[in-house]
């Protein structure tokens, strides 16, 4: 309950777009810090270790993409979104508040 009050009064929320666009396409993991509870289920569910628990600048416990992986979203997250297959994004599946979204767009393909 206190956490909820803290979130409503004290904390500050924002949309974080981790990832990049380069010549080949756009690759982002989008996190809504308002919806994120910092439960960490996505961190465990990711097969590649892309995510980590984190205390942000506004002292909120949420989740973010690790610095190393923010530069390889195409390669780390691509396999969860197979070409011509079913979307199987583990972090999205385990997130109850739907705070996290993965977006992979390869030019000429997606």
């Amino acid at each position: 309950m206190f956490n909820l009050i803290k979130r409503l009064i004290i904390s500050h929320s924002y949309i974080a777009n981790y990832g990049y666009s380069d010549g080949s396409g756009d690759y982002y993991i989008i996190l809504d810090s308002d919806k994120c509870t910092g439960c960490g289920k996505c961190v465990e569910a990711c097969l590649v270790g892309v995510l980590e628990n984190y205390v942000d600048d506004y002292d909120d416990e949420i989740v973010k993409v690790t610095e190393a992986h923010s530069k390889s979203i195409k390669y780390d997250c691509g396999p969860c979104i197979p070409v011509g297959g079913e979307r199987d994004v583990k972090c999205e599946q385990v997130c109850e508040p739907k705070a996290i979204t993965v977006s992979i767009k390869v030019k000429g393909l997606d």
């Binding site: 380069d22 010549g23 080949s24 190393a68 530069k71 390889s72 195409k74 390669y75 780390d76 691509g78 396999p79 979104i81 197979p82 070409v83 011509g84 297959g85 390869v106 030019k107 000429g108 393909l109």
Partner: protein, 272 residues
């Protein structure tokens, strides 16, 4: 029947001539800025090797920047030609990985060589051979020596950058830190191999895997790919011309059946 296939790559233009299913001549030219000239040069070399004349060629298929082959009978997408070419050489291949100078592709193919799914690394130098070439310059080593150099190392170091420009700076920093060139070269090949394998996993890795394209000549790269996949690779004697072979084979269509020759596997390779 004499047919020709021409693959106009970003870096190299390849021409191949087949007679009744056997490769009788091949040629290559740097694509450069005058693509039509490269096409003529590559084809001329192939014709000379084949000991035929231009008029003997009945059908011409093109791929890559196929529009540069004005006289082509048919033009095909890169993946389509890759699939057909790999299937021609290795009928048992179910997965094909093509790593060229500026582009890389992964695809799953069926038993006729038709592409089922494919993934791409395009328009970014870090995803293809250009990465190795740029790091070779930073290391002051010839591109064709990078592979062997990398095999001299068994130590893994990190190259965090996923961009060729940033990686060049990192390599220079490593050189200042007195890291051995062999260790750096190993990390370079690890980087490009990781990116290629991750890309291929999006279209799926199934059954036997054929590796084609110019970077298949690089033994350091081949070693890292094998380790990532945990599989042996099907690599022909001349992996760079496979796209051109596919274009040739497709130009005559399914009405002509070829008996695929005994494809020679990768043993001792001379860097081209």
């Amino acid at each position: 029947m004499i047919i020709a296939g021409i693959d106009v790559g970003a870096v190299a233009t390849k021409a191949v001539i087949l007679n009744d299913g056997k490769i009788i001549g091949k040629g290559m030219a740097t694509t450069g800025f005058e693509r039509e000239e490269a096409v003529e040069a590559a084809l001329a070399e192939a014709i000379k090797n084949a000991g035929i004349s231009r008029g003997d060629i009945e059908k011409v298929g093109a791929t890559g920047a196929g529009e540069a082959v004005e006289f082509a009978d048919k033009r095909f997408e890169d993946v389509v030609a890759d699939g057909a070419g790999a299937n021609f050489l290795f009928p048992q291949a179910k997965t094909v990985i093509d790593v060229g100078g500026e582009e890389a592709r992964g695809m799953r193919i069926d038993e006729t060589g038709r592409v089922v799914d494919f993934a791409l690394n395009e328009r970014c130098a870090a995803g293809a051979g250009a990465f190795v070439e740029a790091m070779a310059r930073a290391l002051e080593v010839k591109t064709e020596e990078m592979g062997e150099l990398s095999l001299q190392s068994d130590k893994d170091i990190e190259i965090n950058a996923q961009c060729t420009i940033f990686a060049e700076s990192e390599v220079v920093s490593q050189i200042h830190l007195k890291t051995s060139k062999a260790d750096i070269a190993r990390a370079v090949h690890e980087g490009i191999a990781t990116r290629v394998v991750s890309m291929v996993r999006r279209s799926g890795v199934e059954g036997e895997v054929a590796l084609i394209g110019g970077v298949a000549y690089n033994p350091g790269f081949v070693a890292r790919i094998k380790e990532h996949l945990g599989k042996e690779l099907l690599i022909s004697e001349d992996p760079q011309i496979v796209g051109a072979i596919g274009a040739a084979v497709l130009a005559v269509g399914p009405e002509v059946e070829f008996k695929a020759p005994e494809a020679k596997l990768d043993t001792e390779k001379e860097w081209r």
